[in-house]
Every structure is written in C-alpha cells, then in structure tokens.
C-alpha cells in the first residue's frame, strides 16, 4: 500500500464517546488507500480564518476500505484533541495524510507468537493488530496485556473480550481502580505482572508496546531484564517525560 502524497478530505461518519476522556471517531475518506495494522496518520484541522493544526494519531482500523477509525484521548491543555473529543460531530470535515510508518506494523504473513502490551490510549494500534489477526484467522499465538487506570477508561473492552480464543489471550492491569473481585490490587505494572501475564522469553515472541512514555520505558526495561532481545521489542511512545 503506497503512501499517498498530500492531504485527503475526510468526513466524520460517527463519533462515539467511549471513555470519560475519549472518543472513537470513524472517518469516511473516499481516497484512503488502505493501511497496514499498526500504522498511523496525520490529521489536519483548518479554522475558518485559515489557521491550521496537525497531529498524528494511530489507526484502529486496517486493510482496504475508505472507513478510517481513530480513538482519541483528550489532553487537558491540548488544542486538537479537545476539539475531536468534545466538538466535532458527524458531517464535519477534516483532512488526513497517510498511512504513515512501516515499522510498528503486523502483517498476516507473520507466524511467530506476538505479545501486545498497551497503556491507556496506546491500545489503538494494538487493536488494529488484534483485529487483523482475527480477520486473517491467523493461528499465530497472540497475547495482549492492557493497562488502564480504571475499567471505564478502557477502549474496546467488549470487542477485545470477544476476540479471546485459543490463539488470543487477554490480561488486564488496573492502575487506580480494579473492578470488584479482580484478583490483582490496583497499581502500576510491575515485573511480576509481566512475568505472570505475558508470553515467556522461551516463546521468542515479537513484542509490541504502545502507551505513554513512562509506561513504555518501564515495560520495555522489564522485558529486556527478563531476557527478551531488544530487537524483538517494538515500541511506540507518546507524550513527554
């Protein structure tokens, strides 16, 4: 799939508030060339006086088709994310460019075990990969560990639960509030969590980690300490430190 040069017009087809801070947006982009699972795009907004702002977002959808799905978390002092989460409505227009990035991707020709580890809205490219795995009826062994503050902060919780089968396992970490009856006490992800709830080094998994910088740094360091080769760990970080 080629990267299309230039900006493509998109129309918001659906906007769904799914967490206290975030929304899923489905864009209709007639000229979208399709995208690999895990890729991202640039999104451009233009005010009526010509002022523009551009931000990068991971894509939750994958494959061919002109329907492009994003999940956007609102940053408290942002200028683009509050618009996308609070203001934009179906029928509104914006522009996108992409798909971008050929590294943090999964192709259905890959057969090795895969461990996905997400923090917060870092789930977006990993949902795309999990969907691609299911759509291809891939028998590659997949396991996902998803860390969120509280159950209501999780994107795609019910969809992920439905993906669970013989080749897809799902584990949760809650950092602030765990659901009633959940065995693990709420708290940040630890080495013990990674050891208990991810594919072991012996499986030689390819590991995809996406989330806020502090989360990815901590997880990647634990993975390396546990013996995962650095070149088997793909990371995508967002935000400052």
């Amino acid at each position: 799939m080629a990267i299309v040069a230039g900006w493509l017009v998109g129309t918001v087809a659906r906007a769904m508030r799914v967490t206290p801070q975030g929304r899923i947006l489905v864009l209709d982009v007639p000229e979208w060339p399709g995208n690999l699972a895990g890729q991202h795009l640039d999104l451009r907004l233009t005010a009526e006086d010509g002022y523009q702002a551009v931000r990068s977002y991971s894509i939750a959808s994958f494959g061919e088709g002109t329907s492009v799905e994003l999940a956007v978390d609102m940053l408290p002092d942002g200028e683009v994310s509050p618009y996308l989460v609070e203001d934009v409505e179906p029928g509104d227009m914006l522009e996108v460019r992409g798909p971008l990035g050929n590294f943090f991707v999964w192709r259905d020709s890959q057969t090795e075990p895969v461990q996905l580890i997400a923090g917060g809205s870092g789930i977006v490219p990993l949902v795309s990969i999990a969907r691609a795995h299911r759509a291809a009826a891939s028998t590659a062994k997949f396991r996902m560990l998803y860390s969120v503050r509280a159950p209501e902060d999780a994107y795609y919780a019910s969809e992920l639960a439905e993906l669970v089968d013989d080749s897809f396992a799902l584990d949760w970490v809650y950092t602030r509030t765990a659901p009633e009856g959940f065995a693990r006490t709420a708290g940040r992800i630890t080495r013990a969590d990674i050891e208990a709830s991810t594919l072991p080094v012996a499986d030689n998994p390819l590991v995809y980690v996406c989330g806020p910088t502090g989360f990815v740094e901590a997880v990647a360091r634990i993975l390396v300490d546990l013996g995962h080769p650095a070149e088997r760990i793909k990371t995508e970080r967002f935000g400052g430190k």
């Binding site: 523009q52 200028e79 971008l100 590294f103 910088t213 070149e231 400052g240």
Partner: protein, 197 residues
C-alpha cells in the same frame, strides 16, 4: 479548495514565526524510539568513525571529554510535529572529530547502540552544524533522550539526531537508515517539511 473544520480554532496556540511549518511548540521533551532504551555505561562507551579505506578512529568517553566542549543553544524539531525552542546542550563538534579523518565519501551512516541507523550527508555534519551531545539543560543526558551521548544535528528533523550514538560510517552513496527505510524522508529539512517519502 480548502476544507474547513467547523468550529475549530477556539483553543489555538499562539503562532510563532520561529516554528517551521506544521510544527507546534511543546514545553515537554517527548520521547520517540522504536525499541527499548539501551543502557550504556560511559566506562563501556566508545565512538568511532570508519572510512572507506577501513580506517577506524575511536574515542573512549574520557578521550571525548578531553576534546573542546561547546555550549549549543538551538531549536529542535521532531517530525511528529513538536518543536522546542532555545534548548541548551553541551557536546563536541563533529568538526573536531572529523579534523584528522581522511575521506572522500560524501555521505554518512550514523550507527547507534541498539542498532538504530540514520543517514546524513557529511556536509550537514560539518561547519558547526552537528555535535556529539552529552548534556541537556545542564544535566547528563538521560538514557531516554539518548544518553550517554547522542548526535545533535538540529537543522534536520530530530530523528536524524541519533540517540545512543556509537559511530559514523562513511558511505559513497546516500543509503537509507532505519526510519528512512520505514517511510521517512532521506534528508528531513523541517523548513521544507520533508517528513515522509
């Protein structure tokens, strides 16, 4: 015809003429890396320049520290659209490191601990345009930001400023490095918005 996003712009940031097109100002220092952060002790660190003849010139950490150290105040621009203005670094100029290097190759491949690579024309590393930087804001460079030392070539998008820099290999051709093989521009001039293929 321009596409307007209804009602957008109420929370806009002040525009700044010092920002290249399509960039926004951040006070944070975001981290973008394709893999885990390598942890390299300065006792084990070295930096080498390898030329087309096979000659390798290597500096240990102590040898690097013994070279003239420059204070650098510069703006930095990441292809993911954030910019920081007026950042402060300390490092050794590539002019100093290349002073006794004999090469007629016009291109370089920057090589990092952890396997990262990026390609930069030699002329973009010389004449006061690039440094091996080991301090940021008066502190040793954090591993997350490329410590103990990273390339600093601030007139290009910041993925060219390779973290955890380990060496430079001379190339006769402009061969693509890591991100350049994965969708990003061969040169990366922020003022021309050379972001992608």
């Amino acid at each position: 015809m321009a596409v307007f996003s209804r009602g957008f712009g109420a929370r806009r940031r002040e525009s700044d003429p010092e920002l290249p097109p399509g960039q926004y100002l951040t006070e944070d220092f975001p981290v973008l890396s394709a893999g885990p952060t390598p942890r390299i002790d300065t006792a084990d660190w070295s930096f080498s320049i390898t030329t087309e003849s096979g000659a390798v010139t290597t500096w240990s950490w102590d040898e690097l520290m013994a070279l003239p150290i420059e204070d650098v105040h510069t703006d930095i621009h990441c292809v993911t659209r954030w910019s920081k203005l007026g950042t402060s670094w300390r490092g050794v100029s590539l002019d100093t490191l290349f002073a006794d290097i004999d090469t007629s190759d016009a291109y370089t491949m920057i090589e990092s601990y952890g396997g990262y690579t990026t390609n930069v024309p030699l002329e973009d590393l010389l004449d006061g345009k690039a440094w091996i930087a080991f301090e940021f804001d008066g502190e040793p460079l954090d591993p997350e930001h490329g410590g103990p030392a990273r390339l600093l070539v601030p007139h290009l998008y910041f993925w060219k400023s390779a973290k955890w820099v380990h060496g430079i290999r001379m190339h006769s051709d402009d061969d693509p490095g890591f991100w350049e093989q994965n969708g990003y521009n061969m040169y990366g001039d922020p003022w021309k918005e050379q972001r992608y293929w």
